[in-house]
């Protein structure tokens, strides 16, 4: 680390600062896109990006659906952080090294809200012990309260306190690549599939 490089960069920039210009106020620049039925739009976009949305009334209903999925039934190593939805063959709290999650076949996780315009779900590290759980399982299901769908990303950031979590982010669909001749392949490095349960009777997450 060289403090002189830092000073050099700052003095070079300060020497030629352009005239200041205003930072746009995002609430007043105009109207952002909204949808008549945000949940339906969310489900459509999620399908477009390779995921699947399932509307259910209760977690029990979601659980029944999950247990009809061959991928769930064939999964040898499973874990769930949503009580009443799926089950776990490993004890997450007993795992200290994230490498030990390498062979998780199916994980059931929790999302805080969805974004209708792009099918993304906001997830945070306080609901899982290791953040790698969002990326390493072969398959993912995420449960989100059905009432928690916002129209667009601006609305999403309005309700967030970014920086509150060491890791947080949006996940939209399963992992994918088109790096070989622009052919879309689902399941690049992360999850090969993403099922999103939009649960009517599900409370917001309180840590």
């Amino acid at each position: 680390m060289s403090p002189s490089s830092r000073d050099q960069i700052f003095s070079k920039i300060r020497a030629v600062l352009p005239q200041s210009s205003l930072l746009p106020d995002l609430n007043s620049v105009g109207q952002w896109q909204t949808f008549v039925n945000p949940s339906a739009r969310f489900a459509d976009v999620l399908k477009f990006v390779g995921g699947e949305a399932v509307f259910v009334k209760t977690l029990a209903e979601a659980d029944a659906h999950l247990r009809t999925m061959p991928e769930w039934n064939l999964a040898k190593i499973r874990c769930s952080v949503v009580s009443g939805l799926g089950d776990s063959t490993i004890d997450l709290n007993a795992i200290d090294d994230p490498h030990d999650l390498e062979n998780v076949d199916f994980a059931v996780l929790r999302g805080h809200f969805g974004v209708a315009e792009n099918g993304a779900i906001w997830v945070t590290d306080d609901t899982v012990k290791h953040r790698v759980l969002y990326f390493i399982p072969q398959r993912l299901a995420i449960a989100v309260p059905a009432s928690q769908i916002v129209h667009n990303l601006h609305e999403a950031y309005e309700r967030l306190t970014v920086g509150h979590h060491r890791f947080a982010g949006f996940i939209s669909g399963p992992s994918k690549t088109a790096d070989i001749e622009q052919s879309l392949v689902i399941g690049a490095h992360g999850a090969r599939s993403l099922t999103v349960y939009l649960v009517e009777e599900m409370s917001k997450y309180e840590p």
Binding site: M1, I13, L26, F167, S175, T177, D179
Partner: protein, 458 residues
């Protein structure tokens, strides 16, 4: 070598040129569909551009704010004046912790700094984990596009490469099969890596956090298993507020690949307990660009690649013909500012059609800058004699009405009556790949004069 010389090699294979052109146009069309599905698209572009302009005008303040907020989160912030210092810093961090194996996600900055060969010289195994980047790494090439690094490679060639390096079946070319093989190969690398290195899409001054966008999830896997994460960024990645991400994330993936958002948009605010996060902020010529009001706006760039996908010259000449880390229209501005001697031909790899300016999500006036860059290069006497001579000739003709009329008549008559071998002579570059149009019987001036006569009679 100059862009025309390298492009000549590329277009020698006509079938491949067309295939390349189509592949990129396909991405451009996806982008169009996405852009037109957002009613406030133009408002988003304007807002994004205004945010970037504002950020640049208060850049030192925002950099300081970012630095102190990141430090509060436990991040170690480093500053590098140039590529060499950047590489030394990264190597230093790795060596102090005895890192032998590094996994990397896509970072054009580290390409720019030639980090991989530097680390390899010092005995560190570097694995690029973005599928496209892994392909070019195994083929000992460089990316030919900033978002689609392997866009110039055919699936059969990927198959050959994977057969040699990953032991896939000989002759296999199914993208699904090949991507699956890469998944297994790279999972192994992820799991045994000692450290993960990433680029940065956005750095938030107000929170000290960084945002990294991928579709494959490679950045996230790479930094969530080992205890050390190094993120490298140019200082132009800064944005003031977290809420600004609402604007930029709506634009980025739609412009880049025609997706509503990338699969993963990960927000990192400090390292997890027991882990380390280092952020290296790099100048490497950026202050030089910043100093120049004419080209400063090119620092708005969020590296979506839309200008490449739409550029008729890029699509038909391939990324490698630019010999630059960032090719295409934006690269033809950023690169010659730093190395005008080596890259003087790049601003001329452009028809000034303006399509890049139309698609740019942060409203960089690309084709105006490309034009301005030609003037800069002329000022530095870096424009070839043949180009200068023809410019002089043209300006001589255009400034003399009688000469213009005379030559116009001569050209019209020649196109109509001269035998083919004379028109398509070796000196006529315009006749090499195309049929010249049949000249109209009357000139525009004649037609215009006749119309006016008619009007007058009425």
């Amino acid at each position: 070598m100059s862009h025309p010389a390298l492009a000549r090699d590329f277009i020698a294979n006509r079938e491949r040129t067309q295939w390349h052109d189509k592949a990129l146009w396909f991405v451009r069309e996806k982008r169009d569909r996405m852009a037109s599905s957002v009613p406030e698209w133009e408002l988003l572009r304007e807002t994004a551009s205004a945010i970037k302009q504002h950020t640049l005008s208060l850049l030192p303040d925002y950099l300081e704010q970012f630095e102190s907020n990141a430090a509060k989160l436990g991040v170690v912030v480093h500053w590098a004046a140039d590529a060499h210092e950047h590489n030394e810093i990264v190597l230093g961090i790795l060596q102090q912790r005895n890192v032998r194996r590094l996994v990397k996600s896509k970072s054009m900055l580290t390409e720019e700094c030639h980090l991989n060969p530097y680390l390899e010289q010092h005995g560190i195994e570097v694995v690029d984990t973005d599928l496209g980047e892994r392909i070019v790494q195994l083929r000992k090439e460089t990316p030919s596009h900033i978002v689609l690094p392997a866009i110039h490679i055919k699936k059969e060639e990927v198959g050959e490469c994977f057969h040699e390096h990953l032991g896939t079946k000989k002759g296999a070319s199914d993208p699904k099969y090949l991507a699956e093989a890469a998944r297994h190969h790279l999972r192994e690398r992820f799991c045994r890596a000692d450290a993960g290195l990433t680029g940065v899409n956005f750095a938030i001054a107000e929170t000290g956090g960084i945002v990294i966008c991928t579709n494959e999830g490679n950045a996230d896997l790479g930094v969530s298993l080992p205890k050390l994460h190094i993120a490298c960024m140019g200082f132009e990645k800064l944005i003031p507020r977290a809420a600004d991400l609402g604007v930029f994330l709506r634009l980025l993936a739609r412009s880049a690949t025609g997706q509503p958002i990338t699969t993963y948009s990960s927000h990192f605010h400090g390292p997890p307990a027991g882990c380390e996060l280092h952020i290296v902020i790099v100048d490497n010529g950026r202050t030089e660009i910043f100093r120049n009001p004419e080209f400063r706006r090119s620092l708005n760039c969020i590296r979506c690649g839309a200008c490449m996908n739409t550029c008729p010259v890029y699509r038909r000449s391939g990324g490698h013909s630019y010999e630059a880390t960032v090719p295409g229209p934006i690269g033809s501005i950023l690169t010659p500012i730093q190395t005008p001697e080596k890259h003087s031909s790049l601003p001329f790899a452009c028809t000034l059609c303006g399509s890049c300016t139309d698609v740019c999500p942060v409203k960089i006036d690309l084709h105006h800058q490309l034009f301005a860059m030609r003037e800069v290069l002329d000022g530095k006497r870096l424009i070839g004699a043949s180009k200068k001579l023809s410019m002089k000739l043209v300006s001589g003709v255009l400034s003399r009405t009688w000469l213009y009329n005379l030559l116009g008549t001569a050209a019209r008559l020649s196109l109509r009556w001269l035998p083919r071998f004379l028109i398509y002579n070796p000196l006529n570059a315009w006749g090499r790949q195309r049929e010249l149009p049949l000249a109209p019987k009357k000139t525009f001036r004649q037609q215009f004069a006749e119309r006016q006569q008619k009007d007058d009679k009425r």
